[in-house]
Amino acid sequence: MRLLHNYQYVAAMLLFCIGLYTIIVRRNIIKKLIGLNIMETAVFFFYISLGYLDGGIAPIRVGGADPSRMVNPIPQALILTGIVVAVSVTALALALVILLYRQYGTLDVDRLFRDEEKEPESGTERGGTA
C-alpha cells in the first residue's frame, strides 16, 4: 500500500474529482468551464509526475549535465501539446458562451433546457450578426 509514498498521484485524483463535481453539479456554464480546466490540469499533473526521478535534473544538456540523472522528457513533450489544446478548447467554449447569452439571455443550464422548446428571446437578437 503506497498511498503515502505516491502522494502526488493522490492529489491529482483529488483535483480531478473536484473538477468533475463542478461540471456535474454547478448550473452556470462559466463555472462548468472552470471545472473543465481544473480537470485538465489535474490530468497533466498526474502524467508528468509519472516521469519524475528522485533527485533528477531538468532535461537540458548544458555544462556537462549527466543524461542518466535527467527526468523523463517524453511526457513533458506530450503535455506541451495538451496545454495548447486545452487553451484552444477554452477559447472556443467562451465564444459559444457569449453567443448563447446573446440568443437566450441566460446562462443557467436548467433554464436553458426548459426554454428550449419555446422560441429564443428576441431581446438582444437582430437580423443576424456580421
Binding site: 463535481y21 452556470n28 463555472k31 508528468i48 527526468v71 495548447v84 458562451v97
Partner: protein, 81 residues
C-alpha cells in the same frame, strides 16, 4: 525539505480549487482560478519541467484568465440561484 514544499503546494492547490468552485461571484472565481494556475506553474518547476512552467504561466495567467474576464464582462456577473 523537498517533500514538505511539495506538500505545501498541493494543499494550496486543493484549497484554491475548492474556493474557485464554491464562489458565488464569477469574477472572484476566475481570479482564484488564476492563482491556481500560478501554483500549478510553480509545481511544474518542482517536477523539473521548466518548459511547462513557462507555458502554464504564460497561458494560464495571460490568456485564459483574460478570456474568462471578457466573457464575464459580456454576460452576467453573479451566478443565478
Amino acid at each position: 525539505m523537498g517533500t514538505a514544499l511539495n506538500l505545501i503546494f498541493i494543499v494550496l492547490m486543493v484549497a484554491t480549487a475548492l474556493l474557485a468552485v464554491f464562489a458565488r461571484d464569477l469574477l472572484a472565481a476566475v481570479i482564484i482560478f488564476s492563482v491556481y494556475s500560478l501554483i500549478m506553474a510553480l509545481m511544474w518547476q518542482r517536477l523539473q519541467a521548466p518548459d511547462l512552467a513557462l507555458t502554464e504561466a504564460a497561458v494560464g495567467a495571460g490568456v485564459t484568465t483574460v478570456l474568462f474576464v471578457v466573457a464575464i464582462f459580456k454576460t452576467r456577473r453573479r451566478e443565478e440561484e
